[in-house]
């Protein structure tokens, strides 16, 4: 790599189902102000903007155009990158690359979504191929009900495994002031009372639709050393895509998750991920996906995640903290969701997560994004430059 890149600013708005008080540009501007405040720099210091969201969900076209004045991008290079659910993760990758290329010293990545203004399900319905797959109902719920079903069947997990994840996430979200759903779900029994969407997937197992924005500022090594905050170093990042037909013979594939994580681990000498990585902020839109994916990433053996969950292993104050922010199941402004994973991982590396700060020593953070036809973007952040 040509140059090192570091996250020197982290900002996000609060997240709600509806933000009728602001338009999309004003919402993004809140994210921009938050990140500038955190980095203690001015908008003039930003050399380029990388922005993105779900292109179709709000019904707006070329959103970087009308938001340019709101976010302070006039007179600057702007690129709009949009890769569906993984958008936020891709924004971070591109921001790292902009700085690593040596062309820009300080750049901002900004993800936003105002789902209530459009129709997420109508947008998502058009994701399937109109000739081969339009019969498929392509909402996220059907897919994750499938994930839950197969996890129970193949790993022998009990039906309350998802609810146990939900209790942990509720505990985490209650400690995160930025989380959208801060529900008091204190017991597995309570979570099990939530209605089925498609069995065995329950309402509490699934992510909400949120409105919100998230931004990070990435700087070069030289700039980072002069910044107010402790820099969090981008160690490595990658993306893996799968073909458009992603459920074959009834079984979905997790090849993208496996390939992305193993690529990163191999390139960075990570052989015992749970020991070497101190926190995972993973993009799992449903509780069951957290279990399946922790195994797919290679953090634990197949069929082990629900058992470790029962032991409380993944709580923020335990052995291997997973989604100490409350995760996607508690907060989901799609275009920002994956960038929040990177931002939260960076916050943990910096030691600034406050009440949801992990108790383990933060050394390396893993963040991931998921979307498309089963795509994974993943990053490793490091608290030291090494």
């Amino acid at each position: 790599m040509a140059r090192r890149a570091a996250i020197v600013g982290i900002g996000q708005t609060y997240h709600r189902s509806k933000r009728p008080d602001v338009n999309i540009g004003e919402l993004s501007a809140e994210g921009v102000r938050a990140v500038l405040e955190d980095a203690e720099i001015s908008i003039k210091d930003i050399g380029a903007f990388i922005v993105g969201n779900m292109e179709l969900f709000e019904g707006r076209y070329q959103q970087d155009m009308w938001q340019a004045d709101y976010i302070g991008a006039v007179g600057k290079p702007v690129i709009r990158v949009t890769t569906g659910g993984t958008t936020g993760g891709t924004l971070a990758c591109v921001a790292f690359e902009y700085v690593a290329s040596g062309l820009f010293d300080t750049v901002m990545a900004l993800g936003f979504e105002k789902q209530y203004e459009g129709d997420t399900r109508a947008g998502l319905k058009t994701v399937a191929d109109p000739i081969w797959n339009r019969w498929q109902t392509t909402g996220a719920i059907g897919y994750f009900a499938r994930v839950a079903h197969f996890y129970m069947k193949e790993c022998g997990a009990p039906e309350d495994a998802g609810s146990r994840v939900r209790v942990r996430l509720a505990r985490h979200a209650a400690r995160n002031p930025h989380a959208h759903l801060r529900l008091e779900i204190e017991s597995v029994e309570q979570a099990m009372k939530s209605p089925y969407l498609i069995p065995p997937l329950r309402q509490f197992d699934m992510c909400p639709t949120s409105e919100g924005a998230c931004a990070i500022i990435v700087a070069s090594e030289e700039k980072a050393s002069k910044m107010a905050r402790k820099p969090v170093w981008a160690k490595d990042w990658t993306a893996v895509h799968k073909e458009s037909v992603y459920v074959r013979g009834g079984r979905h594939s997790t090849a993208d998750l496996e390939m992305a994580a193993s690529r990163l681990f191999k390139r960075n000498g990570i052989t015992k991920p749970m020991e070497q990585i101190s926190v995972a902020e993973i993009y799992a839109p449903a509780t069951w996906a957290e279990l399946e994916w922790l195994e797919a990433y290679g953090f634990c053996e197949k069929g082990q995640a629900w058992k470790l969950e029962e032991k409380g292993y993944f709580h923020f104050d335990r052995e291997f903290p997973v989604n100490p922010s409350g995760g996607v199941v508690c907060t989901n402004p799609i275009g920002a969701t994956a960038l929040i994973r990177v931002a939260e991982s960076a916050l943990q590396m910096r030691g600034d997560a406050g009440e949801h700060q992990i108790t383990r020593k933060p050394t390396i953070g893993f963040s991931s994004a998921w979307g498309g036809s089963g795509w994974t973007v993943a990053h490793l952040l490091s608290s030291t430059k090494d």
Binding site: Y61, D69, G75, T82, E97, V127, V240, S244, S373
Partner: protein, 383 residues
């Protein structure tokens, strides 16, 4: 670190009902890879695609375009939701960052499938003010054309001659479908879309795709004997509200060009650059963009065009391919400019080749209403 262009491919543009958008992508990617002997899905680490959910009526268009460029469990893929020139910029950044050695850049659009393009364009305007006026890109362009006319005392004939020149030169371009012998009178007499822009002064809507392969210096030299280097690039955003801009100037393009020239060490663009391929979505833009690019003094581009200076055989050839008015789909537009410049520098432009031995070329792409965002790519012959 140098970034080289090693191969390119364009589909034939026009109405292509026989192909679906991503099938066009496959054809051009396959052709470009073949030219440098790379197998599908191998030998490249990254793919940048440029397409639009709105124009395809499907969410996440890069699911299909990425797959057709070989992204299935292979190279990484990113979609740029803007013009193809931005895709070339991102691809170059990726190589310079050391995170990829070879990158495939593609763009595709099927405008002919869209029944009412104005609706999509209207949704690009800000909700509280301009969208409610019912503006589309042609109306925004008409406002820009009017301010340009007023500020520099230009006439509709000045703009119409751009169409005559572009369509005359497009006749020699096998990819373009809109070539023809026209007179200024024909152009002015065509259907009025939004005064002063007639249907002939608007880039014709069409279908098509293009692909380009970028490589790090050493890889580029290994893949081809005739690499073309990307010596500089720049991009810049303007105000969104049309009333906040002086529409008769393009500050965004001026800044983008300055960045690109600065990066390549160009001090005098007129002397040091041999040809331009620019995105003229509308007739007047050919002239206005040239002034912002520093090729002509403000308000003088029309005179230079009538003098024949900007023709293929002129002192400073601009759009020897016939430009976008010759028929190139949106999103593909800026990428097509880069590809045309690449062919000129490689001396592979055949009948549309400019005179002499061009060494330096500029390609340009623009996104948004009345040229809100511009991207400039500067290319240098590397052999």
């Amino acid at each position: 670190m140098k970034v080289g262009i090693v191969a390119a491919a364009q589909s034939r543009y026009g109405e292509r009902p026989e192909w679906r958008p991503h099938e066009m992508t496959y054809l051009v990617v396959e052709e470009a890879l073949k030219k440098v002997g790379l197998p599908f899905r191998e030998g490249y680490e990254d793919i940048v695609t440029c397409s639009s959910d709105h124009w395809e009526g499907m969410t996440l268009t890069d699911i299909r375009h990425g797959e057709m460029a070989g992204a299935h469990l292979g190279p990484t893929e990113e979609k740029v939701g803007d013009d193809g020139a931005n895709g070339v910029l991102l691809g170059s950044v990726k190589i310079m960052s050391g995170h990829a050695d070879v990158v495939v850049v593609t763009a595709a659009c099927k405008e002919k499938e869209v029944k009412d393009p104005s609706v999509i364009e209207n949704f690009a305007f800000d909700v509280p003010y301009q969208q409610l006026l019912g503006l589309d890109f042609t109306q925004a362009a008409a406002l820009q054309a009017m301010s340009y006319m007023h500020k520099y005392g230009l006439k509709r004939e000045d703009f119409a001659q751009v169409v005559v020149k572009e369509r005359r030169e497009a006749k020699d371009n096998p990819r373009a479908f809109n070539g023809g012998n026209l007179t200024v009178k024909d152009v002015l007499g065509a259907e009025m879309l939004s005064y002063p822009i007639t249907s002939m002064e608007c880039r014709p809507f069409c279908d098509g795709a293009a692909a380009l392969i970028l490589a790090r210096e050493d890889k580029a030299k290994a893949l081809t004997d005739k690499p073309v280097w990307i010596a500089g690039f720049g991009s810049s955003m303007d105000h969104h509200n049309l009333g906040d801009r002086d529409l008769a100037e393009s500050n965004a393009l001026r800044r983008a060009a300055q960045d690109a020239y600065g990066m390549a060490g160009i001090k005098d663009p007129v002397k040091e650059i041999d040809l331009f391929e620019i995105s003229d979505h509308y007739s007047y833009q050919f002239l206005l963009w040239l002034e912002a690019l520093g090729v002509c003094e403000k308000g003088t581009a029309a005179k230079r065009l009538s003098a024949g200076d900007l023709d293929r055989s002129g002192k400073m050839p601009v759009n020897a391919s016939g430009g976008l008015l010759g028929g190139v789909p949106r999103y593909v537009a800026g990428l097509n400019c880069v590809i045309e410049a690449f062919y000129q520098l490689r001396r592979e432009a055949e009948e549309r080749a400019v005179k002499g031995e061009p060494l330096v070329a500029v390609a340009h792409g623009t996104t948004g209403p009345a040229g809100q965002h511009h991207c400039v790519i500067l290319l240098e012959r590397g052999f």
